[in-house]
């Protein structure tokens, strides 16, 4: 008898540990969840994985919030898929959550925004009242638009067009000029780029500081998807990158290291040998600290061979929000508020990091704002210049890149992160000469199997 009771309790309890995720959807029968939003909340909860947006928000916006509203950041470090896991859980429970526990806004990155945009857990921003998107860059809107029905689900305060960041003194030596326009004409296709690499080598330089440098520029311009009917195959764009990289490595045009490895950072020192770095404005504004300290002013940006983007943070409204008008206001202001967007563009350039949050509104990071009108104003402003880039007006370059970026919905999958980061990184084993090409691919296939066992190759 006792045994039977124990067994009963055990099995019931075991079911308790299995059921999470299987239930809990507010399902109306067809697997569809109706949008719900109210406007009586007192606590604004924003889900995020780091403090970048929080920093801007606290500095420029917190003081404008209505009386009695408090802000809470639900922050989850994005290791593994920790942020997504927690976010999924919160979103699924959001409609039924108590008032002050509802998520109102959640942030998403380019690599997984598709998953949230195409779900019922994000709200149509037009239904909230965010209607003016005329100044936003098209690719930024496309990334947050549903695959079917063209519903806009998110907005962003920034765009992340990618440029080629050139070490001027090296360019002068190799190409005889450090004028951005002339450099662009000498590097506006991959063929020219590859040819210049040989010239650079002849003069004792490297074309790029890491073999992964050009990956995003190629991958962003793919015309086919990595996945077709759950079958993986490298795209033509990947193969082009791979061929270029193989050549670059074997001829010593680049070095084998990851994008964030110190050997790459060392190339930003005064005795650095690499000519072309690839990255968006956040990259040269914040991540090239070594260059800012040691080779400040010896840089310029050009559009390079192909337009691409890298990174980006989108704001999405959570289904179930109880602060809908405030959410609308925030989304709108972080796209259209002239004063706010100008602050974002200008920045003080002084980075002071305080355990996740800024303590003073005096210091904040400049940012390529997602507002064409504001950007245009500064493109035409002769007094504007970026001191790191020797006073060059980088916005003129970046805005034309941003205009040329095409977000191809059909090419993005929920596995973007695997293809954008894991895949090129895996190839480092091959480029370093420690594994055959086949072995490197096998390592990647192993990875794919753990991502989703249904994917074949």
């Amino acid at each position: 008898m006792k045994k039977r009771i124990l067994a009963g309790v055990l099995s019931a309890a075991t079911v308790l540990t299995l059921t999470t995720g299987l239930t809990g959807c507010k399902d109306n029968g067809a697997g569809h969840i109706d949008p719900v939003f109210t406007d009586d909340g007192k606590k604004l909860r924003i889900a995020c994985w780091n403090w970048e947006f929080a920093e801007y928000f606290d500095a420029f916006y917190a003081s404008k919030l209505p009386e009695g509203i408090t802000v809470e950041w639900a922050q989850f470090p994005n290791e593994g898929k920790n942020y997504q896991d927690n976010l999924d859980r919160l979103l699924k429970a959001n409609i039924d959550a108590p008032a002050d526990e509802k998520i109102d806004i959640f942030l998403a990155e380019a690599d997984y925004i598709k998953k949230y945009v195409n779900s019922d857990y994000s709200l149509d921003v037009k239904s909230l009242g965010v209607t003016d998107t005329t100044n936003a860059y098209k690719y930024v809107l496309d990334a947050a638009t549903t695959d079917s029905g063209n519903v806009l689900k998110g907005v962003s305060f920034q765009a992340c067009p990618g440029a080629v960041i050139i070490r001027k003194s090296i360019a002068k030596d190799v190409l005889g000029t450090d004028d951005p326009n002339e450099l662009q004409s000498k590097l506006d296709s991959w063929d020219k780029f590859n040819a210049v690499a040989a010239d650079a080598k002849a003069k004792g330089y490297m074309m790029t500081p890491s073999v992964l440098e050009t990956y995003r520029a190629f991958a962003n311009n793919a015309t086919t998807s990595y996945l077709n009917d759950n079958k993986f195959a490298p795209t033509e764009a990947f193969n082009n990158w791979f061929a270029q990289s193989k050549e670059f490595v074997s001829k010593g045009y680049t070095q084998v290291c990851d994008l964030w490895d110190p050997p790459k950072d060392n190339q930003m020192l005064a005795d650095g040998k690499a000519m072309c770095f690839f990255g968006p404005s956040w990259y040269y504004n914040f991540s090239m600290g070594t260059a800012q300290k040691n080779t400040n002013g010896d840089w310029c940006v050009i559009q390079g061979p192909q337009a691409y983007f890298w990174g980006g943070t989108w704001l999405l409204a959570a289904n179930g929000t109880d602060n809908s008008s405030l959410v609308k206001q925030i989304m709108n202001d972080f796209m259209n508020d002239t004063e706010l967007m100008e602050k974002l563009v200008k920045g003080t350039g002084i980075k002071e990091w305080k355990d996740g949050k800024p303590t003073s509104a005096d210091h904040y990071n400049p940012c390529f704002a997602n507002n064409k009108a504001i950007i245009k104003k500064y493109v035409e402003d002769a007094s504007y210049g970026n001191s790191f880039l020797g006073g060059q007006n980088d916005l003129a370059v970046m805005t034309s890149v941003a205009d040329n970026i095409v977000w191809k919905k059909e090419l993005h999958t929920i596995y973007d992160q695997t293809f954008n980061e894991t895949l090129p990184k895996t190839m480092l084993d091959f480029f370093s000469g420690n594994a055959s090409e086949e072995a490197a691919w096998n390592k990647f296939y192993n990875e794919l199997a753990t991502v989703d066992s249904k994917i074949t190759h």
């Binding site: 997504q84 998953k115 594994a435 691919w441």
Partner: protein, 315 residues
């Protein structure tokens, strides 16, 4: 009559004393563990937002595990090579660790050596264990990376721009670094345990041995080691369990497996499936890890206990 009553009530006390442990274990560990076993027989799929599905799959997860990798990896099955990696890295760290700790424990407890400043040394050797594994891995990565300080120290070897050694592009150097970190983190811990063991040994036995004219080596071999066996068994088993759970250090140091996944451990493999919510396969990996741990622990327990037996009888 009275005496009998007493005996009964004592048995009751036994249950009372062990009850909290078992109740808590039942709720927080056994039930989740059972669910892990249950998962291993289901095909579980969960894309996060769209909800999860579970379908009974029999042994499919297990058979899948034993084919994964084989079709394209020269027949090499992923989980077996990760199990091998785990054991190799454990042995590389545990053997020197046990040796060092034993020497240290003997030095500290030796009445002949009378080491001064014992407090200081004992305090210091445990310190590395206070640093979290992630921080350790970060530090070592910074030290040994290509173009880093260790690399730079070898600048005088040949041409500075070429031919230097990249520790993170070689399976064996990566494994060695993992083992070294584990060694540094844990030898203090082991030393403390062994010391406690040695000090727990009846001093009169040492005295008797000395009077009989035994050399230090003889005392060590014939008295210390056999009497230390129970604690040694404990040390080796816990170290083995710790080794099989190896995760943070190789995960961060080698960026999720290193060159050709040569430093990927079983738990890192498990973590890959858990991260991607493949709970069915993850359950199967768990069950296999469970079985492997059980078998290895039994082997260690048996082999070390056989040496222990005669002494126990003598007691």
């Amino acid at each position: 009559m009275k005496k009998e009553h007493k005996l009964v009530s004592y048995a009751k006390w036994g249950y009372i004393f062990i009850a909290p442990f078992f109740i808590v274990y039942l709720v927080f560990s056994l039930i989740p563990l059972i669910s892990t076993f249950v998962y291993s027989f289901f095909e579980y799929s969960d894309s996060g937002l769209s909800g999860a599905t579970m379908e009974f799959a029999g042994l499919k997860n297990y058979t899948d595990l034993f084919t994964m990798g084989s079709s394209y990896n020269n027949g090499q099955i992923s989980i077996l090579s990760y199990a091998g990696n785990t054991m190799i890295m454990w042995i590389m760290g545990a053997v020197p660790q046990l040796l060092f700790s034993l020497i240290l424990a003997v030095i500290f407890t030796s009445a002949r050596l009378k080491i001064k400043g014992q407090r200081f040394f004992k305090t210091v050797i445990y310190m590395p264990n206070l640093i979290m594994a992630a921080a350790f891995a970060m530090l070592f990565w910074a030290l040994f990376q290509f173009g880093g300080p260790i690399d730079a120290a070898f600048d005088w070897v040949g041409d500075a721009s070429q031919g230097k050694f990249d520790f993170f592009k070689n399976i064996w150097s990566e494994r060695t670094l993992v083992a070294v970190i584990n060694f540094i983190m844990w030898f203090g811990n082991t030393t403390i345990l062994l010391m406690a063991g040695i000090m727990g040994i009846d001093q009169s036995l040492f005295e008797a041995a000395s009077i009989d004219g035994a050399t230090s080596w003889q005392v060590f071999r014939k008295v210390t080691i056999p009497l230390l066996m129970p604690i040694m068994v404990y040390v080796v088993i816990t170290s083995l369990i710790g080794g099989l759970q190896m995760f943070d250090v190789p995960q961060i140091l080698t960026n999720r497996g290193g060159t050709l996944n040569g430093s990927k451990t079983l738990i890192m493999y498990l973590n890959d499936f858990v991260t991607n919510k493949q709970y069915g396969v993850a359950g199967a990996v768990s069950v296999l890890v469970f079985i492997i741990t059980g078998i290895l622990s039994m082997i260690v327990f048996k082999t070390m206990n056989t040496g222990d037996k005669p002494k126990k009888k003598a007691k």
